[in-house]
Amino acid sequence: MSADERRQRLVKLASATVFLAAVAVAVLIVIDQSQTDGGDTSLEGVAAVRADLDGIPQRGLVLGDPGAKVTLVEFGDLQCPACRGFAEDVLPQVIESRVRGGEARIEFRNFTIIGEESVAAGAAAIAAGEQGRGWDFVELFYRNQGFENSGYVSDDFLTAVARAAGVSSIERWNRVRKSQRTIDRVAAESAEARRLGFGGTPSFAVEGPAAGGLKTLGTSGSAGDLESAIDDAR
């Protein structure tokens, strides 16, 4: 084969191969994009949440050292925009100053005041907690919250949040979140919030040696207020 013939053969074969490869890559990307349109993943704040919670023990929906003397309880509704604001702007400071060092722990309890979608979201958080990813789930849900009762709390959305939160067995998580036991627990936590006299979310209470049981703090406050309440309860 002469050099010219070889060059012509090379150009033909290479052109065809490059075309086929480009089509193959485009097909792979289209498949990937189409599967994420239904509810992934371009979830916001995954890295930030991971950094906020990194190295802090979690059990159920309790974040922090299980042996901590003080427990700060947040009664929240995952659909509540004010709770989201609190999760993004206030709680990170409290977590860094009081929880990371082991002085206190924070517990999330459901107070579903917005609608049925809040119940589904709360149950999903409890189920994620059973796999040690409860706070990752709560924080990621807040950061990707949609408009209240708009239908965004779909199975696809909840699954995407659970996966991004690091829930290892989606099958078990699905079973737990849909169980009557979990739904009943969401209702019981909401009933407790009403019994404590709360009328909105997020509401806080603190429990510690000096607090005399569960002491209610109300619906709002700054990071400084919560830190003072924790210090007073020790």
């Binding site: 090379l10 074969l13 290479a14 191969t17 490059v18 193959a24 890559v25 990307i29 994420t36 991971r50």
Partner: protein
């Protein structure tokens, strides 16, 4: 003076890039493909049942990437697809002739293109870096380069 003229003549002469013998390129490609298949297999095994490969220094990037829906394509683990792709590249490295040369180049190009896309996802969509995925990406880029040289230099020559 004569030395200077001689030096100028030598530097003005066109340089010929030395391309390794095809057998050397095939051995390099076979090594890279086998190594890549091992890395992809580790990621696939670690991700089975919802787990994640171990990131060094506990950065957590591997968990985040493994948890992303981009870690699966049409329900199949991307890592598993990677094992299959590296295995095919290994076969093209072991075979002779223009068919194997073009197939190696084509598969390398597909792997390179999809690797660029996955790295973009890690950096700008998932917002996390999996060190094992970076190792695989480097191997795939190297495989593409070796297969491209093999194709450009040896297509049309006797096997």
């Amino acid at each position: 003076m004569a030395d200077l003229v001689g030096a100028r003549r030598r530097s003005a002469a066109p340089r010929r890039l030395t391309v390794p013998a095809e057998g050397v390129l095939r051995r390099i490609a076979a090594f890279l493909a086998a190594f890549g298949a091992g890395v992809a297999a580790y990621i696939a095994i670690a991700e089975a049942d919802g787990g994640a490969p171990a990131c060094l220094a506990g950065s957590g990037g591997c968990e985040t990437v493994a948890a992303s829906s981009h870690s699966e394509l049409a329900g199949i683990s991307v890592a598993l697809i990677g094992v299959f792709g590296y295995a095919l590249l290994l076969v093209t490295a072991l075979l002779r002739g223009d068919g194997a040369r073009m197939a190696g180049f084509g598969l390398g190009l597909v792997g390179f293109g999809y690797t660029v896309y996955l790295t973009y996802l890690e950096l700008f969509v998932i917002d996390a870096i999996c060190q094992w995925c970076i190792v695989s990406a480097v191997l795939m880029v190297a495989l593409f380069a070796v297969n491209a040289v093999r194709m450009l230099r040896y297509v049309g020559t006797p096997a």
